[in-house]
């Protein structure tokens, strides 16, 4: 195994594991604000307790997100030193901004939200929930800005010593790539959170929990989860996914060709629904193709020419091309399933049949892991699609890793992270399952605790 591969795996593994947590916290932060707002407007204690329950899940998630997030900032320096040395003046900025503008805010108000309910007025407690939401969404923005600069570098100058520096603060932040990717990514986070909330509601109803005490947590979670799920699963395809895809096609044409498995340039290119790309023959094996659709999706007309991989020299093809192709297809396929499921669930909710339909509740329950897979596959599409570039068009991945850190030392710490994260994953699953099976506090218990 080469040092380059080890350093890529090191970052890929730790960042993939890390992003399992923020995608839920960011989405959940929004849904908690919804719960708190209803509680504040209606004075309904049940919604407050529902918010408190999700606050606990949020808290566990947040901690796992924080502790697995710190390594990410460090790894820029430890594993990607040559990249950091040249680009630190640019991408160090949004990373530092995340700490300064988001984490201080988020941690301060999360402390108040989780520990301070008794010390704060109802409005101030609601406000701290809003601030946690704002903080976590700002944090996502700065990370996207960092990634967007690597995907589509803007507002930079190349200094004589080889380093890049920022020319405009606003152009860096308002990189069009960043705005599109941000909209798409944050919608993805809301999809995860709504699926988790809906699944929890479905779980309670299937188990017949919380029906006797007169508090309908199952109903609340399903209602919020399905409505948010319907909105976010539509938005993730149109307009956010659509616009982002078109922008990628214009700016990284080789990536889109590889994602779609389009080896040959075609007018009226079709979209491959299923099939395995064969790099040696330059074909899709066992294809199921719908004609003209790809041209339409990218250019809005069925006759447009789409550049295939044959237009690009081999050394500019994304490395690990099949993985890119599969990641993209998994994301897109799941996205289609999500919107169908949520339209079905929302219709049943509207007709008043959702709470009693066991098969739909089961479908919602077992679907909750899928948005995690879709979000991960989406990020793999973005990051593998950028290959062989580390900074698109400017620096190759092979030029960026730490040359002083040997493959052996890299493997040592990669294995260390794998072991530790396996443990964390188990711990997290047990803890969240315990919280969910315990559930929000029913009224009776609440009265005892209110000292």
């Amino acid at each position: 195994m080469t040092a380059e591969l080890i350093h890529r795996l090191h970052f890929a593994f730790t960042v993939t594991f890390h992003y399992l947590f923020p995608q839920l916290t960011m989405g959940l932060a929004l849904l908690i604000v919804v719960l708190k707002t209803v509680a504040l407007k209606t004075g309904n204690e049940e919604w407050d307790r529902a918010a408190r329950f999700w606050g606990k899940i949020f808290g566990i998630n947040f901690v796992f997100g924080v502790v697995t997030g710190i390594p990410m900032e460090f790894e820029f320096g430890t594993n990607w030193a040559r990249f950091s040395r040249l680009s630190g003046g640019v991408i160090g900025q949004p990373l530092a901004m995340e700490g300064v503008f988001s984490f201080f805010l988020e941690s301060a108000f999360l402390g108040l939200f989780l520990y301070g309910e008794k010390r704060l007025s109802k409005t101030l407690h609601w406000f701290s929930a809003v601030m946690v939401f704002v903080g976590s969404w700002i944090s996502g923005f700065f990370i996207i800005v960092t990634d967007a600069w690597m995907q589509h570098p803007v507002a930079y100058a190349h200094m004589p010593n080889g380093q890049y520096e920022v020319l405009s603060f606003w152009q860096l932040l308002l990189n069009p790539w960043a705005l599109l990717q941000y909209a798409h990514n944050m919608t993805g986070a809301v999809v995860t959170a709504s699926f988790v909330m809906a699944a929890t509601g479905a779980f309670y109803l299937l188990e017949g929990r919380f029906t006797e005490c007169g508090c309908d947590y199952g109903h609340i979670f399903l209602k919020v989860g399905v409505i948010a799920g319907l909105i976010s699963t539509i938005l993730i395809i149109f307009p956010t996914g659509d616009l982002h895809g078109k922008y990628v096609a214009r700016n990284q044409p080789a990536s889109i060709a590889a994602m779609e498995g389009l080896f040959k340039t075609e007018a009226g290119a079709g979209i491959v629904l299923v099939g395995q790309p064969n790099e040696e023959t330059g074909q899709i094996d066992n294809p199921i193709v719908v004609n003209d659709v790809l041209s339409f999706l990218i250019y809005g007309t069925t006759k447009a020419e789409v550049k295939g991989l044959d237009q690009f020299p081999r050394d500019q093809w994304p490395t690990t091309l099949p993985l890119l192709y599969y990641a993209y297809h998994i994301m897109a396929g799941l996205g289609t399933y999500f919107v169908l499921l949520m339209i079905g669930a929302a219709l049943m909710l509207w007709r008043g049949r959702l709470y009693s339909s066991r098969w739909m509740l089961w479908a919602l329950l077992i679907s909750f892991p899928l948005p995690y897979i879709a979000n991960t596959a989406g990020w793999m599409t973005a990051e593998i699609g950028r290959q062989p570039w580390l900074i698109y068009g400017l620096m190759r991945t092979s030029e960026g890793f730490s040359s002083t850190v040997s493959a052996s030392n890299g493997l040592f710490t990669l294995l260390g992270f794998m072991g530790l994260y396996a443990l964390l994953g188990l711990l997290f699953t047990v803890l969240v399952y315990r919280e969910i099976s315990h559930g929000p506090e029913p009224k009776a218990v609440e009265a005892v605790h209110a000292d």
Binding site: G88, G111, G116, V166, T404, L424
Partner: protein
């Protein structure tokens, strides 16, 4: 000028991290010894519960600031200190998870294990941080291209072929362990009450005596390992105020603790940490990372500094952002001021 400004801004963020997360780590070390039962242990840990992850943000924000202001230093030091940094990351993970789990949930039989992990990880983090600072003061085998790689240890001598750990950096680690444990004890005298508070106050004096010994030893050792450490002080004699500040704050810790002025004693300890770190920074300025391979390989301020546009852009948002951040920090600490263990008996 920009170099001078950013050097001290990064230094301030590091001091901010050490002062704030320092008491979390100190409490982590102490809770194993000071708390005698479950209620007391809970009270001890609740004193840092709402603030620890906010305190850790200083590390991230400081790291990010270092990253864009001095990219060469960030790249060189982080890849060169690869192994200890990875261990620090693992320790930070273990500390954060174990603390949060036991604070939130009824963990049953696992509680003791979590407490042990939390205490041990906290102690090791203080030692690693102290050793890290000592590594910077001692210097590292920088090559002409600005990179190096240090093994965890070699022959335990701070010569031309050093490891992360040698007798000098171990002293640095022990100074940090004692200083931050004392810092944590002083925090506990503010946040706890009853017997726990008494015990925390009692442990201050022996820790304080130990700290004096280690401070003196570390200063002498630094002079031995890095004889040029006082050059800046002789050049600008007014800066001898820093070592005077170290002595004065040490004295104030003991006096104020004896008088029972807990908050002021804690602030004196903050000052002690500030003077120690500022003194070390001033001792190496304008070098950021000295080379054991000859001064021509030193990473200096001017060599590592980012481009002028980057720094100008950075200064604008940084000043604004850190003002906001300070406001949140003050707001949170004022909301959670006072004893954290009120109501322990009622549960």
């Amino acid at each position: 000028m920009m170099g001078f400004i950013w050097f001290w801004l990064v230094a301030v963020m590091i001091v901010g991290y050490v002062v704030l997360d320092g008491f979390d780590l100190g409490v982590g070390v102490l809770h194993l010894f000071l708390a005698r039962n479950e209620a007391e242990r809970g009270a001890t840990l609740r004193s840092i519960g709402p603030v620890w992850d906010g305190n850790e943000v200083w590390l991230l924000a400081g790291g990010g600031t270092l990253y864009f202001a001095f990219p060469l230093l960030y790249a060189s030091a982080f890849s060169g200190f690869y192994l200890p940094l990875m261990i620090v990351l693992w320790l930070l993970i273990l500390r954060g998870v174990s603390l949060e789990l036991r604070n939130h949930l009824d963990m049953g039989v696992w509680l003791g294990l979590l407490d042990g992990i939390f205490g041990l990880a906290s102690a090791m983090l203080t030692i690693f941080f102290g050793a890290a600072l000592a590594n910077v003061l001692r210097g590292v085998p920088l090559q002409a291209d600005g990179y190096f790689f240090l093994p965890l240890w070699t022959n335990w001598q701070p010569g031309t072929n050093p490891g992360i750990l040698d007798w000098y950096t171990v002293i640095g680690g022990l100074v940090a362990l004692v200083a931050l444990t004392l810092h944590g004890a002083l925090w506990l005298t503010i946040k706890t009450s009853g017997e726990l508070e008494q015990r925390a106050r009692k442990v201050v004096t022996p820790l304080w005596l130990l700290l004096i010994v280690f401070t003196v030893v570390s200063l002498i050792a630094t002079m031995a390992v890095r004889p040029t450490s006082l050059d800046n002080y002789y050049r600008y004699p007014v800066t001898f105020i820093v070592p005077v500040g170290v002595i004065a704050s040490l004295a104030a810790i003991w006096l104020l603790n004896r008088k029972g002025q807990a908050v002021k004693a804690f602030l004196a300890s903050c000052l002690y940490l500030f003077f120690m770190l500022a003194g070390a920074c001033w001792g190496v300025y304008p070098t950021l990372l000295p080379a054991t391979t000859g001064a021509q390989n030193d990473i200096t301020l001017s060599r590592a500094l980012s481009g002028p546009h980057t720094l100008a852009v950075g200064l604008a948002w940084w000043s604004f952002g850190m003002t906001l951040a300070l406001a949140y920090v003050i707001f949170v600490y004022s909301r959670f001021r006072g004893k954290a263990d009120a109501g322990v008996e009622s549960h």
